[in-house]
């Protein structure tokens, strides 16, 4: 160890170097986002809780109860009972999604042939009551308010998608 190394060691140069880095962090802007006062907006592709889309003019669900989402779900959390309207159109009588099992993989959204089920921005799903995690058709339809803004008015699954 040469003289320079001894002096450096005695003067704690390496430790002061580390302290200078933390010292600069002391004064620069902090990165904290103070949730729940401030919230970060998720990206357009973010996979939050699902929503069932309805036709804007008639208010009927787009879903035709083809069972693709229920079959592809790796956790088997979608339960659909199909039925027929009086006009002969297929529709889901009940559409239940068990949020306690959902892994938010997005496969249901990917395979839906009529773009009826989409993943939204909603991630604040914590609740004290486990029964709240059984999402019914009404809840899913009401969740349309959380659909990603970039999706609306652009046609789901359009070129470039989200």
């Amino acid at each position: 160890m040469g003289l320079k190394d001894i002096v450096k060691k005695g003067a704690f140069v390496d430790i002061l170097r580390g302290m200078s880095v933390t010292g600069t962090y002391f004064v620069v802007d902090k990165v904290t986002v103070e949730y729940p006062k401030e919230k970060i907006q998720p990206y357009p592709r973010f996979r939050g809780a699902q929503a069932l889309l309805t036709y804007p003019d008639t208010g009927e669900v787009k879903c035709v109860a083809c069972m693709l989402c229920a079959t592809v779900c790796p956790s088997r959390c979608i339960h659909i009972e199909g039925g027929e309207t009086s006009e002969g159109r297929s529709y889901p009588v009940t559409f239940d999604l068990d949020l306690a099992h959902c892994v938010f993989c997005g496969l249901c959204e990917e395979v839906c042939p009529v773009a009826a089920i989409v993943m939204t921005r909603e991630y604040e799903l914590a609740t004290f009551d486990k029964n709240d995690l059984w999402l019914t058709k009404e809840w899913l339809i009401a969740n349309q308010k959380n659909v990603h803004k970039e999706l609306l008015g652009r046609g789901v699954g359009g070129d470039g998608e989200r």
Binding site: K9, D14, I15, R17, G18, V21, T22, Y25, V31, P42, Y43, P44, R45, F46, R47, C66, L68, T71, V72, C73, P74, V103, F104, C105, G106, L107, E110, V111, P113, V114, A115, M119, V156, G157, G158, D159, G160, E161, R162
Partner: protein, 412 residues
């Protein structure tokens, strides 16, 4: 920093020197480190026999995070398994997806188009950078300071942001698909990714400034936890620990997959086989990954990002909504699933923690008959007894952090 490269004999001698404290008789105190423990990465339990400060024996116990992943895969089609592979090494999910998809494509004979290969490389390298930055934070936190942990996580946020923009989720990406990837690069991703990749090497230089020449880190990491290449071969330890022992084995170079054969990068190798060198290897790997990401962005080819294989791949959503052939493909892929030919396949890729291998045996149906994930953490966790027996208890924490074990990977 590096003197002449030590030979294997020299490393063995150093190892024997640092561990000569084991030969002592006397009472041992049995202490159970884990499963709930601030430093054991996940629920890994190590029962230690301590003689004062020296570890005399270690009895590791895994299985606290076992979820039966391989059994779950046997009842699902090949598309449905992809979200399950996310949860193996959840800190680098896309790499797990990627390894699985490579194995399935090898089994079914699907070819991935060039753009898909480049996007896979890009996402895999982003996962590698995130993993190594987080490794650094956890390693230094185990040594005593939480500040570094927060700093590293702040930098990891930039990468996770990019991954959320690309895949839709920060941690469990589910982005790989058979034949390519799930979605194309979104608008604005190129610009943002370049911004992040430009300042990351400066951050790495900052970390090195604090850690690399720090006298305390020197004392705690140099010459500690020597695991020679012989030991690595004996215990199937791969990845950065192997490369820090002087063996230049990197599957991205030796058995290239995705777009790695078209990338220009160096394999990070060090020769002293201790904790300090594993740190150096990982820092170098972050820099090389930044290089690879930049090359991917510069040379991204046009074209489809997923194979248009009607028998094995999912169709694009925009086609499903308009085209009846794609809709039929959609129904076929979901209700029956891609059929694999009878046979077995093994494919390994370079995960950030080591070599991850996927073995699939198929009896010809839509479900695999048997899948096995040969994850790196399983073997690294198994190699803990020869690594730490004879070291002191404070060193155990440092060494265990340096071989990077994640329980999701280990227990599956």
């Amino acid at each position: 920093m590096s003197e002449a490269r030590p030979t294997l004999e020299e490393l063995k001698r150093r190892k024997a020197l640092s561990r000569q404290r084991v030969e002592r008789s006397g009472e041992v105190m049995t202490v159970s480190m884990g499963p709930q423990h601030p430093s054991m990465h996940g629920v890994y339990r190590a029962e230690l026999d301590l003689d004062g400060e020296v570890i005399v024996a270690v009895r590791p116990e895994i299985g606290n995070l076992h979820r039966g992943v391989e059994k779950l895969c046997e009842e699902r089609t090949y598309h449905q398994i992809i979200p399950i592979t996310d949860r193996l090494d959840y800190l680098a999910s896309f790499v797990m997806n990627h390894g699985y998809c490579e194995a399935v494509e090898k089994l079914m004979g699907v070819e991935v188009p060039p753009r898909g290969r480049y996007i896979r490389t890009l996402a895999a390298e982003l996962c590698r950078i995130a993993n190594h930055i987080m490794w650094l934070g956890i390693h230094i936190m185990d040594l005593g300071t939480q500040t570094f942990f927060c700093i590293c996580f702040r930098d990891r946020e930039y990468i996770l942001d990019l991954l959320e923009m690309l895949t839709g989720a920060r941690l469990t990406h589910s982005f790989g698909r058979i034949g390519g990837v799930a979605k194309d690069l979104p608008d604005g991703f190129d610009r943002r990714c370049r911004k992040v990749i430009d300042f990351l090497p400066r951050r790495v230089a900052e970390y090195e400034r604090i850690v690399k020449h720090n006298r305390i880190y020197y004392k705690r990491a140099k010459g500690v936890g020597i695991f020679t290449s012989e030991d690595c071969f004996a215990w199937r330890v791969t990845g950065p620990p192997l490369r820090s022992a002087g063996v230049a084995r990197d599957l991205r170079r030796d058995e290239p997959y995705a777009a790695y054969d078209e990338m220009d990068f160096e394999v990070a190798v060090e020769y002293n086989a201790d904790v300090y060198d594993r740190f150096l290897v990982r820092m170098k790997e972050i820099r090389e990954s930044c290089k690879i990401v930049r090359q991917c962005l510069d040379n991204l080819p046009d074209g489809p990002f997923v194979a248009s294989d009607a028998v094995h791949a999912l169709p694009l959503k925009k086609n499903v909504l308009r085209d009846s052939a794609a809709m039929i493909q959609d129904f076929y892929q979901v209700f029956q699933g891609p059929l694999a030919p009878k046979g077995e396949v093994y494919r390994a890729i370079e995960a950030p923690k080591g070599e991850m291998g996927v073995y699939i045996r198929s009896e010809g149906g839509a479900h695999p008959a048997r899948i096995h994930f040969a994850t790196p953490s399983f073997y690294h966790g198994q190699a803990v007894p020869p690594l730490v027996e004879g070291e002191m208890i404070s060193d155990m924490v440092a060494i265990f952090a340096s071989v990077d074990v994640v329980l999701g990977d280990c227990d599956r």
